[in-house]
Symmetry: C2
Subunit: 224 residues, 2 copies
DNA sequence: GTATATTTTTAGATTATTCTAAAAATTGTA
DNA sequence: TACAATTTTTAGAATAATCTAAAAATATAC
């Protein structure tokens, strides 16, 4: 805890990658996993891990994988905060589509200015969720939790409101656009097809479509 | 004209430095001048000039200095456009002071997305001038010209409206803040003191102060 | 117009981040 | 538990941007 030496964009990206990989289970993250998620050779990852350990951003034991230190977690959280706030800005203020903002936010999140982030937060009205429904940590790094399930867990006849998406890729979000599915859209599970678990759904009490199980698992809904 | 290879932040900074140095007289820029303005050793500048010449962003002849190519000028202009638009955003939307935005805009100007800049421009209402009164080039790179003189050229008794500042440093702008001088402020030249050419001025038809000649030369005014 | 001063370039190193190939450690298997 | 497969690390090299010191070119001064 300290090292007021500001981090490079590269170092920040490693921290973020480690955070994302350990988000679910909070288990140590393997060199290989980082390598794959960042498309960087394992040997390069090892080098950077040494450097980050030196800076006390991670706990690293050779061959044993890494965990973020408290400091490292804080860095990751602040990056996520910035990323998501910028996404809100791009969608709500600049009228970008939710499928167009990831890459730009990926650049903007590295701009270093605490007052910038906090003013942006205020300007946007202290949003709690980004355009994909992901929670935005507050200044202290606290995430607002939301109870949600995936569409695929509903029982036939049940209706949910879309509150988030698991997958953020442009193709997936574009597909949802085509189906007129956006955050807040009402989705009713009409029928589960036994053969392949695909789902017949009704969108906004209008058209019915079939979506695959995989799509259903990527749609977070809250009960209506 | 081409080289779709996107430039590094470093390369962009060299282009911008060369642009600023040749802005006034449009003369070739010396290695040493670039070195000084960027606080980088002359030898490093030479290396980069070779690289930029290779990419056809500058016309470079050994020992003869450099000029920006058309392509180079366009890169510089787009950077200035981005810088100034972001400054408008920071001041008008996020309530930063005009003395606080330079460094942040210096980072934001390197974000690469044409649609981002153009949407930002629209969002801000297509401003023609930034918070320091500097003109913002449009999409095509055209600057709006404004007829202006400096406060120090007024004749005693004459009044001007502040439309810009030559110097952008935080100390200078903070000094103006203290004097309650901002863009749009009415400034009347009361008297020129022969001894050292310092100026007695009246601010917003209120308090009178003495400013040095140098300060007067850094204040752009239009006639009331 | 030659000698001196200044500017610019070259040469050789350094740092950060990356790579490939090979060695070492760990894990999985039977 | 021993061998094979996998993962991770080490070793050595490459690229981009920088540096210092020295050489080369240009400019200045008398």
């Amino acid at each position: 805890m300290k090292s007021d030496t500001s981090l490079s964009k590269t170092e920040e990206n490693y921290i973020k990658a480690i955070f994302k990989l350990s988000e679910k289970d909070d288990q140590p993250v393997n060199t290989n996993a980082i390598s794959k998620s960042m498309s960087i050779a394992p040997a390069s990852v090892t080098d950077m891990l040494k450097k980050l350990a030196e800076k006390e951003l991670i706990h690293y034991e050779k061959y044993k994988g890494v965990r973020l230190s408290l400091e490292g977690k804080s860095v990751a959280t602040q990056l996520i905060r910035k990323h998501r706030l910028w996404e809100v800005f791009l969608v709500n203020k600049l009228q970008f589509g939710w499928d167009q903002v990831h890459d730009i936010a990926e650049e903007l999140e590295h701009i270093k200015s605490e007052s910038l982030v906090n003013r942006l937060d205020t300007f946007l009205g202290n949003p709690k969720f980004d355009p994909h429904g992901d929670p935005i940590p507050n200044r202290e790094g606290k995430f607002t939790l939301r109870n949600q399930t995936t569409l695929s867990t509903l029982v036939p006849g049940q209706t949910g409101i879309l509150v988030g998406v698991r997958e953020h890729s442009t193709p997936f979000l574009g597909y949802l656009n085509d189906l007129k599915i956006a955050l807040g859209t009402e989705l009713k599970l009409v029928e589960r097809i036994e053969f392949d678990n695909s789902l017949k759904i009704e969108i906004s009490q209008q058209q019915q479509t079939i979506i695959t199980e995989k799509v259903g698992q990527n749609l977070f809904v809250k009960f209506k």
